[in-house]
């Protein structure tokens, strides 16, 4: 996985397309034809633009996006690790391979408040299962000497797909948004 590739320069047409598809395809027989109609273009053009975004790495995954909690995976633990800088890549990759893990990111420390530099998301049916999975990860990746802590989510205030095309002149809250409208795994 390439780290920190620069932000892709997008055409106006691509931005308009992303704005529509980031909320999901219409569930109809010819979804790209329907999107094309809204963009005043052709079905083939929509498909080609999406293929290009997949090929250049802008789209990481393309398919069905499920919501873990509604599937019975009610516990999600953000497990944060204080890893020596020269081992973050190795250990982040090891943890990222577990089937119960959906994210493995390096982030900056913020000393003295925040010593942790590796963030992983572990899902389970309950807290005990998450803790068990973390134990397996510690064993398998050899993390016995690495300090970590699990932050369980206790309330979900908002969960939805990222909105990348918000205008640059946004000025604060525009009213309360209904929670749980659409959603996925936290970036």
């Amino acid at each position: 996985m390439e780290p920190n590739k620069p932000v892709t320069q997008l055409s106006t047409e691509d931005r308009a397309l992303i704005k529509i598809v980031q909320r999901g395809l219409p569930i109809v027989s010819r979804p790209y034809a329907e999107i094309a109609e809204r963009l005043s273009t052709t079905e083939q053009d929509v498909i080609q633009r999406l293929q290009k975004l997949i090929d250049d790495g802008s789209i990481k995954r393309y398919g069905v996006v499920v919501r873990h909690r509604e599937l019975g995976y009610k516990a999600n633990g953000m497990v944060v690790w204080d890893v020596p800088d020269d081992r973050v890549s190795e250990l982040g990759s090891c943890i990222g391979k577990f089937p119960s893990v959906t994210l493995s990111y390096r982030r900056p420390r913020r000393q003295p408040d925040w010593p942790y530099n590796l963030f992983t998301m572990v899902h389970g049916r309950n807290r005990e299962e998450v803790k068990q999975k973390v134990e397996e990860i510690v064993e398998t990746c050899g993390l016995q000497d690495i300090d970590h802590t699990i932050l369980f989510s206790t309330r979900r205030f908002k969960q939805r797909g990222a909105s990348y095309t918000a205008p640059a002149n946004t000025s604060g809250p525009a009213g309360f948004i209904r929670l749980n409208t659409t959603e996925d795994t936290a970036p």
């Binding site: 920190n4 996006v65 982030r107 989510s153 990348y164 970036p187």
Partner: protein
Amino acid sequence: MTDTTTSFSTLEKHLLNDFQHDLPLSATPFADMAEQLGVSENEVLSTVRKLQDEGVISRVGPVFTPNRIGVSTLAAMSIPAEELACVARIVSAFPEVNHNYERDHEFNLWFVVTASSEEHLEIVLQEIEQHAEYPLMSLPMLEDYFIDLGFKLQWA
């Protein structure tokens, strides 16, 4: 806790599990899924719609690579318990905020902020601090070690 995964039909389980990545970009994706599963396109369409209405499927479509078509950061705040719900509503009201969770830690409010540019992101972070009246710790992603193949469901 009840295990909701056991109540799905065989078709629902396949729709939830088999198409999380590499959904082909054909003009008729749902007909393709139907053919692979040996059911009609209408069955796939109605079942996907039902699962989406129930909130089990969030959407069908792209998951964008972080920080490629926009910029984002993970933000954390430490808020007194009695003010948390109020501050969380202020934070959630920003359209740039998604995934806003309470977590059991001294830093008890965690959310992702996404914007079209670094400048836009900075402005939003400042506005959140002003409106919430609490400082914010920003933890942008530096490197991604996760190959996203979706989430393998383990049916009980």
